[in-house]
Amino acid sequence: MKGHAESAAPFVANEPRAHWHDESLWFVRVKRDRQAATVPEWEDLRSTASAIKAHTLSRLADYLEEFERNATANGIHVHWARDGAEHNAIVLKILNDHGVKRLVKSKSMLTEECHLNPYLEAHGIEVTDTDLGERIVQMRKEPPSHIVLPAIHLKKEDIGELFHIQLGTEKGASDPKYLTEAARGHLRERFLGAQAGLTGVNFAIASTGGVVVCTNEGNADMGTSLPPIHIASMGVEKIVPRPRDLAIFLRLLARSATGQPVTTYTSHFHGPLPGGEMHVVIVDNGRARILGEEAFRRSLSCIRCGACMNTCPVYRRSGGYSYGYTVPGPIGSILGPQRDPAAYGSLPFASSLCGSCTDVCPVKIDLHHELLAFRQELAKKGYLPWQKRFSMWVMGQVLARKWAFLLGGRLMRTLMPLLPRALVYGPWNPWGKQRELPPMPRESFRDLLKKEPR
């Protein structure tokens, strides 16, 4: 598996586009700030949300059982899946039991994590992602590059070209309004022809046995009110105790995600359509194990708003695909290596540890501290490449000895300006790939300080 830096290379090679990507996401971050500022109790809301999550995680099994009891009483079928394969098999069985061949989906990162689409397609089911961004990347046979803005890496001209080929829009047309209208028509046909709808779950309420789904487009509502069967896939961590706790998260979610006061539709499902069926599939897929890890369990509090991505200087400049994991950005850099440290070991290093992610996280996950802790974990377990281990060892030796440190500084100041460029910026200096070293000072800080009158 390629590391983050290698995977980012093609993205950063196109400098104007990388710059545009950076600006697009910063624009969303600015909108988030503006919305957060309209709520004077914003910081209290974050602390409360964090504490509700900590409480819920400390009693997760009880709340899931309570949810199951109440959901069953509401006429919802509740299923449990240990992993992605079991989740996919449950979904397929529900579809097969009803002879469903056409499924419409609204956004669900969990089904991305479980690789549901290819599995269902291999079993003869036509799967249509209906969130506009997700439909775009599905047509391109790509995964989403961002959890809230799946097609943020594409320009309108790319989408115009795609729609021209797939939907017969005019060649060269790239007006977002025109393209969205074309998608609306195309997806209405899919909604009307679907036999079942699948959604993710933003929140599940234990005390009432219902699930809540938030969208701006209304695709989850179309997908669950036209076909008679609704399947909702939820990770175990989506549970909140009561409706009044849900209120706290709804005040934070859309403001943090896209800088809106709330999503257009916040739909509460407490049972099937009359004459229909509703199923909830509760998925663990490694979450119970993470719950036992003191240093990383807070990552289970994530409500998938994407604010950490929008603000992250590394994500903004390297793009979602450079992470190679379903969830990119700072939170993905913790979730990925938790699942598979060998495959995603480079992700905790895809960070400057600036802490901006921690500052914007609506549930106060200590993201940059966890990233640092993860680096230490990976080092202890021997997942670091030899170059990194060796250079760290050298630095350790130098920093532990005053004479070595002083000598090192002197050599840098005197020899560096004399060395040919090819030697300094060779392949052994990945830091210098797109950056220039500052000019070497003539004197060290220590020398300057000595000269200062006391």
């Binding site: 504490a51 995680l57 400390s58 009483a73 449990w80 320009k155 969205t180 695709n219 257009t264 719950l291």
Partner: protein, 198 residues
């Protein structure tokens, strides 16, 4: 022979084994209140692409509705507001697909929220076909001006979730910004959302 363990038992057992020490459930913070919640609601609704109208009485409500362009242009109108009847008999529709082609839906909201421009519409306000609120091309929501609450915390204190059932907060028209972050109104659901307060 031991009974086979189900996935449910395996998951719950692992969760109990790995559960951190019990942490208390916090009380919610003091939430924002506005000097004039109805005014703030109207401004927030405009900010999310919706439109607000105030009617003085039932007769004015009819007038206000009649003055709307989306009403004047509509051929097929569905309504679940008794005083503002449409021309589509929802009870006669056999399945939700027959809702396609409805130009305007007029629905009652139970209350509205000042902080985010949302209107609570319980499933029982949607008539026999739940899809009406999202499949109609345009939407008019009718609320009582006195029902506007300040914030979502207050909203959930008053909220009666019907079980089994459905309910939705609607804040403005359907929208997307999935193409280059350009806001486009009218993604899958209503292309416009007008809230009239009585």
């Amino acid at each position: 022979m031991a009974t086979p363990t189900t996935s449910r038992d395996t998951i719950l057992k692992a969760m109990r084994a790995n559960a951190p020490q019990l942490r208390p459930l916090p009380d919610p913070p003091q939430a924002i209140v506005y000097p004039n919640p109805l005014e703030h609601f109207a401004a927030t609704l405009a900010g999310v692409g919706g439109r607000f109208l105030k009617a003085t009485d039932e007769a004015d409500l009819q007038l206000q509705l009649g003055s709307l362009e989306v009403f004047q242009r509509a051929t097929r109108i569905a309504s679940t507001v008794p005083s503002l009847p449409g021309n589509v008999d929802l009870e006669a529709l056999k399945n939700p697909h027959e809702l396609e082609g409805i130009d305007l839906a007029i629905l009652p909201g139970d209350f509205a929220v000042a902080e985010n421009g949302a209107v609570w519409v319980p499933g029982t306000n949607l008539g026999p076909q739940r899809a009406i609120f999202v499949i109609a091309q345009h939407l008019v929501l009718v609320i009582q001006a006195s029902t506007v609450v300040h914030n979502m915390q207050q909203a959930y204190e008053n909220l009666n979730l019907q079980r089994p059932g459905f309910g939705v907060f609607i804040s403005g028209p359907s929208k997307t910004a999935d193409i280059e972050q350009s806001l486009v109104i009218g993604a899958h659901g209503a292309r416009s959302c007008t809230v009239i307060a009585l």
